[in-house]
Every structure is written in C-alpha cells, then in structure tokens.
C-alpha cells in the first residue's frame, strides 16, 4: 500500500518542556493507527501538529509526498485534506446541525449548497441522526454531538482523519454509538490516526498501535502483539493499569 502521511524527526516544545521528541512515523493509505499513552505524553499535541494547529520546531510532515510543514501559506489547503474531530465536539452552537456540517464545504471548498446538503443528509442518515438536521447542538446528547462532529469532518473528504480522544468526554453509554461509527469508517478503508484511552476499542479498530511516552514512540506493533505480548516494561506497566484482578 502506498504511503499517505510521513512524519520525519518531529519535535515540539512548549517553552522549556519538550512535548514531541524527534518522532518519525509513516502511515499507509487506509491504515488505522491508534496512539495510546499516559496523559501528557504528547498524543494530542502530535495530532495537532499534523494539521498545523500547533507550530512545530523541527522536522517535516509530508502528505501525499508533498511537504506540508514549513508552508504556512498553504496550511489551510493542508487542513482541508486532514480532518480532525476533537474531544469537546466543538460544534458551532448558533448553527443548526445541517449548517454545522455544510459550513466548511460551502465556504471553504466553494461547493454548491444543494449538492453539499444532499451529501450532508446522506451522512447524517448513516450515523442515525437525520431527524436532528434542524436542531441546534444544545438539543443533542454528547454522543450525538460527536457523531455530528465526525460527519462534519467527513464531508470535507479528508485523506486522513485525526480523532483526538473523541470519547473522553462522553458518558459510558454513549461511547459505543460513537465508536461504532469509527469502526465502520475503518472498515471502508479510511486512513485514521486515533488517540484514545479505550483499549478494547483500540484493539478492535487498529491496524497498528503506538505507545507514546515523553514525546517518543516507545513501542509499536499489530494490536494482538501489542496488547497480548508487550515487549517493553513501560508498556507492560501501562497496560496493567487498565486490567483489574481480584
């Protein structure tokens, strides 16, 4: 499979604290990479660097073989190709669900309103929220909002989708409905980078799992090896925190 995203020697500091430390990664088209790690390990910052929400100090990012870092003018073009969904949904509170979804394709991509709305309705139907199209975000549950946020990212036809702890703010009962949507996206071959704390989900959805600590990749592997046969002590200890024995 061809490579779609390549990160070379990426470093990011917040004042004196090094958050990402010489990190390199290559993602193939259609691959689902799950990133796990303790709080503050740089997972979210890494995703934010990829679509330029954080400036990077060193290193290069290539999308489709094209260098996208250090090219601030074209940052918005890059962002059109990299979709992102956030932990706190960040829907526009004064816009209806349909308006939330169609805003970017209409204003950023200059697509026709009718065509965009038709696609938006199809996508909403797919995540089971067609009936909510004229509602405002406050009228939706957290899980519903997050599904809308996923649709809002999908309608831009991103080549890579970044999901940043998208279930971390949800009630346990709503986690499932959101993750089911992500699983179905994985099945249709979308390239995704997912940061999550849901280990069972990571195992189910990932082609490759990465354990990040101190802004570095400590261990990576296929989900079965990664969870059932961790190599490093650090990952063993990390995984133990998720299992309970009496």
């Amino acid at each position: 499979m061809e490579e779609i995203l390549r990160v070379e020697n990426l470093s990011k500091r917040f004042e004196d604290i090094s958050v990402i430390n010489n990190l390199s990664l290559s993602v193939k088209k259609g691959e689902v990479v799950v990133i796990v790690g303790p709080s503050g390990c740089g997972k979210s910052t890494f995703l934010r660097c990829l679509n330029g929400l954080e400036e990077i100090e060193e290193g290069e990012i290539f999308l489709d073989g094209e260098k996208v870092s250090s090219n601030k003018k074209n940052m918005s073009k890059t962002r059109e190709k990299i979709g992102m969904v956030f932990q706190s949904y960040d829907l526009f509170p004064h816009k209806t669900i349909l308006q939330n979804i169609t805003l970017a394709p209409i204003t950023v991509k200059k697509r026709k309103k009718a065509e965009v709305e038709e696609e938006a309705l199809k996508l909403l139907d797919r995540v089971g929220l067609l009936s909510k199209k004229d509602n405002y975000p406050r009228q939706l549950s957290g899980g519903q909002k997050q599904r809308v946020a996923i649709v809002r990212a999908l309608i831009m036809h991103p080549e890579v989708l970044l999901l940043d702890e998208i279930t971390a703010a949800l009630d346990p009962e709503m986690v499932r409905e959101v993750l089911d949507v992500v699983l179905s996206l994985a099945k249709e071959g979308r390239t995704m980078l997912i940061v999550t704390h849901e280990m069972a989900f990571a195992k189910a959805v990932a082609d490759r799992v990465i354990f990040l600590e101190g802004g570095k990749i400590v261990e990576e592997g296929a989900p079965n090896d990664f969870f059932d046969n961790p190599q490093t002590d650090r990952l063993k200890r990390f995984l133990q925190t998720f299992s309970y024995e009496k």
Binding site: L53, S76, E80, F86, D90, F92, P93, H94, T107, V108
Partner: protein, 230 residues
C-alpha cells in the same frame, strides 16, 4: 401634591408639547445616529483588536498596542471635556458646533473606542475550540471572522449594542449643556436655568421611558437570537 400636578397641566400649552416632542425626536436622532456611526468605526476596530491580540488569529503586537493605546486615551477623557475639545473638529465636519447633528460627532468619537472594547470582549468570549474546529476545516482567517466568530458572538454583540445605546442616550442628554439639543437640553435650559421643575421632571421621565424601551427591546432580541440555551 395635587397643586403640583395642576401646575404641570396649566403649564402644558401646545408650544411646550411641541418642544418636548421635538426633544424626543432629537434625542432619538442623536442616540441612534451616534450608535450606528459609532459601530461603523468601532466594530472593525474591535475585530482588529481581537485578531491582532497575542492569542488572536493573527497576532501583531504593533497594531494591537497602537489600537489599545488610542482606545484607552479617548476613553479616559471625560465626555464633557471631549465635547469641548472636539468643537473645532465638529465645526470642520458639520459646519457648526451646536445642535443635534453637531453633537453626533463627539458622541461617535466617545463611543467608537468603547464599542471596540465591547466588541473585543464579545469576541473573546467565543469558545477557542470552535475557532480551532473552523481552522481544522481549512477556513481562512476572514472566513473564520465572518462565518464563525461574528455568528457565534452575536448574542453578546447584541447585548453590547444595547448597553452602548443606553450609554449614548445618557451622553446625548449630557451634551445638552453645550447646546446639543434633545431632551437633555430642555431639562437643563428649562429645569435648571429657569426653575421649571415640572418640565425637568417630564423630560427625565421621558428619558427613563426611552431607556427602558431600548433595554427591554435589546434583552428580548438577544434572547430570541440565542441558540445556546432556553
């Protein structure tokens, strides 16, 4: 007490009524005129302050500090002094320094930096996550300002508009002391200089009523456009 009200009614010949009606007209003209022109200057300035601030969409310390400094200077000059200081400028623009149109000039100069601050504060209230979401979709700064920021801040912007209108209503009355016209002018000329307490009371009551109408309309409208709650 009864004698007092009788006093008012015996005084109320048609001349006084016409004068008061004209006062209401002039007051509304000055208030709304200066609010609208004030917003034409203050709204863009507020957006510039927001955008160029350290955490803005395009930080620019030089532009921010310049705008910040000008706003602070004008806002720290008492309105009455500003009114007098600006007389030559007003004469240059309007051709005379008295009357309600002339009063709009200092009112606008006084209001614009105030409006800029109110607008900046409203924009600062918009959730940064929402702005990041728009950025992540590839929106340009201009698209973010017009399609996201101003839309998401509209409730707060409207509240600011109402507060500003109320403030300018008060200031327009104050400008009566230098021949500004309107209800404030009547209150000062008749009520204060000529000891016609009844006319003063009537004009003050009218100002209170106008203020209440503005405030209630504003509160009602900003509730209507708020989609976040209710």
């Amino acid at each position: 007490m009864l004698d007092f009200f009788k006093g008012i009614f015996t005084f109320w010949d048609s001349k006084v009524i016409i004068m008061i009606l004209e006062g209401i007209r002039d007051t509304l003209y000055m208030t709304l005129g200066s609010t609208i022109v004030g917003y034409l200057l203050g709204l863009p300035l507020g957006i510039v302050l927001y955008v160029t601030s350290a955490k803005g969409l395009r930080p620019n310390p030089f532009i921010y500090r310049t705008g910040d400094f000008i706003c602070n200077i004008i806002r720290s000059i008492p309105f009455l002094i500003l009114l007098i200081l600006l007389i030559p400028f007003t004469r240059l623009i309007v051709g005379k320094s008295y009357g309600s149109t002339a009063t709009i000039v200092p009112l606008v100069i006084c209001a614009a930096p105030y409006i800029a601050r109110v607008v900046e504060a409203s924009l600062n209230e918009v959730d940064t996550g929402v702005i990041e979401a728009a950025k992540a979709m590839g929106a340009s700064n201009l698209q973010i300002i017009f399609k996201v920021l101003l839309v998401e801040a509209k409730t707060s912007l409207f509240t600011g508009f109402t507060i500003t209108t109320g403030l300018l209503l008060g200031y327009s009355a104050m400008s009566g002391t230098v021949g500004g016209g309107g209800l404030g002018d009547i209150a000062v000329r008749y009520g204060y200089y000529r000891w016609k307490t009844d006319i003063m009371i009537v004009t003050v009551v009218l100002l209170i009523v106008i203020f209440q109408i503005i405030q209630n309309l504003g509160t009602y409208a900003s509730k209507r456009i708020d989609h976040r709650k209710h």
